[in-house]
């Protein structure tokens, strides 16, 4: 992972880090990714039943609305205005 790669990954993950950290991280991540090459030792494909280890069908619920109100929703918000979550300008 070169420095340029880290920048695009940081962009995708919406993270800003210092150049110093960037350098440190790329070295560490390179080491970790090198370790991942052991996966190429496995060429066997698992039996499909082991794709998800436990049961395989999703749980569903009835279509019944339920109200949720809690003062903490507003209290936790960094900037709550006119009933909504206010954010800085987008463009």
């Amino acid at each position: 992972m070169s420095n340029i790669d880290v920048d695009s990954i940081l962009d995708l993950s919406c993270l800003a880090i210092t150049d110093e950290r960037k350098k440190e991280f790329s070295g560490q991540l390179q080491k970790i990714l090198d370790y991942m090459s052991v996966l190429n030792n496995v060429d066997q494909l698992p039996d499909p039943q082991f794709e998800w280890p436990i049961s395989k069908d999703v749980v569903t619920r009835e279509d019944v609305p339920k109200l949720f109100e809690h003062p903490l929703v507003e209290q936790n918000a960094p900037d709550f205005k006119s009933g909504g979550f206010s954010v800085p300008r987008i463009i």
């Binding site: 992972m1 790669d5 880290v6 695009s8 990954i9 940081l10 995708l12 993950s13 919406c14 993270l15 800003a16 880090i17 950290r21 440190e24 991280f25 560490q28 991540l29 080491k31 970790i32 990714l33 370790y35 991942m36 052991v38 996966l39 190429n40 030792n41 496995v42 066997q44 494909l45 698992p46 039996d47 082991f50 794709e51 280890p53 436990i54 049961s55 999703v58 749980v59 619920r61 809690h70 003062p71 903490l72 929703v73 209290q75 936790n76 918000a77 960094p78 900037d79 979550f85 954010v87 800085p88 300008r89 987008i90 463009i91």
Partner: protein, 484 residues
Amino acid sequence: MSILRQIEKDLNSGQYTVAELTQAVLKKIAADDTNSFIESFDSSALNTAAEIDASDQTSSLIAKGMPVGIKDNMCFENHGVTCASAILDGYKSPYTSTAVQNMLDRGFVPVGRLNMDEFAMGSSNEYSIYGLVDNPWDASCVPGGSSGGSAAAVASGLVPVSLGSDTGGSIRQPASFCGVVGLKPTYGRVSRYGLIAFASSLDQIGPFAQYVEDVAILFESICGFDSNDSTSELRTDQSFVDQLKSGTLTGKRIGVPNELMSEKVATSVQDAIRKTLKTLESAGAIIDYFDFKYFDEALATYYILAPAEASSNLSRFDGVRYGHRSAKGQTLRDMIELSRQEGFGDEVKRRIILGTYVLSSGYYDAYYGKAQQVRGVVTQRYSDLLNQYDFICSPTAPTTAFKKGAHEGDPLTMYLSDLATIPVNLAGLPAISIPCGLDSNGLPIGFQMTGGWFQEQSLLQAAYELEQRLAFKPKNQFRMDPLL
């Protein structure tokens, strides 16, 4: 031995009230200097205690009023929860997680939230904004992680039981380092609703205690199907305490992976495990060794899948609706970037970057896709092995507790310390760590037993049997001292 049963006896005989018990625990926490608690829930705990004292409702499982600590990643309505991260500083949950609710319904009294590695990412509890936690056996050592506070609080006798969560060993490894019992249940046994997610397909809540019986009691209190968690399982076998003492080790087939009795593991740890296997053998179990073959692959798989899921799970921390918001961002995008930069610690950032990378276009198949395939292979391997063996046994961790700062700047070495616990999470199996001895430095060693899917009953029975024979002496047993 059971501390909860002892407390029950005392409560029933009127030795002290739940309020007195709770008060005493809160005082202990206030006086504690191991940093295992982040916050104690003084007023809500005392209110709950008073309600229990005033009510004549009883519980069939265990008397109401048992104090319990919860890891700082479980939501509890009107209480703070931060995952030991600056990004959730000051956040209070408007709802209660199912595991905590189940526990409340059984009459447990949550007394506070426990220190952990930020977002459960770590094996030493060193990545917490609330600072390091002392290992109760040696304050210069780490308690393990990520549920370091949960393990240390029990080991130092602050609370009789606590809850942690285990994604790659986060219950079992600190249990091992702190000389307590920790259970990671089968994936789907305990609802994850209200557990702040690290890696959704691996996370599972589980109990800590000094004795197997107390682990079984807390486990039975929290487990069960939950319609709020699509991955929770509807099971009929949900009683573990009744039959706990009716098991036998005679004839039990035990498999031991050769790789975990090799140079990968400290000699003193190997010695203690060998001794424990002898104990099992003398109790009538049949010991067999095998090559697991996939430890390195499992570790690599884990460090692709867990960060991948985490990178997505942690996207909701954007400073828009709750949590830390940077004062500096002029635009929405800048605000989100800076809030995340300021709010997340280094290890979390490292894993977000790693996880984003393995999911990004051009790398997905080579990393994420490949890892899913290997996860299936590992699961299938376990399935085959568990047809041959009742339990797979090994050391819980390759070493005993290491010194604080030992792995600084070297995340890969830290990751390698999860070798024995990680494959179990990939397969979603239940596993327990029980203390089986001390090394030459007087630090505890954990013995890990892995059972088949949903075989917690037989796993707990076997662990209980073994515990009786090992007679491990805890460091600081929880004691009710009304004078405190």
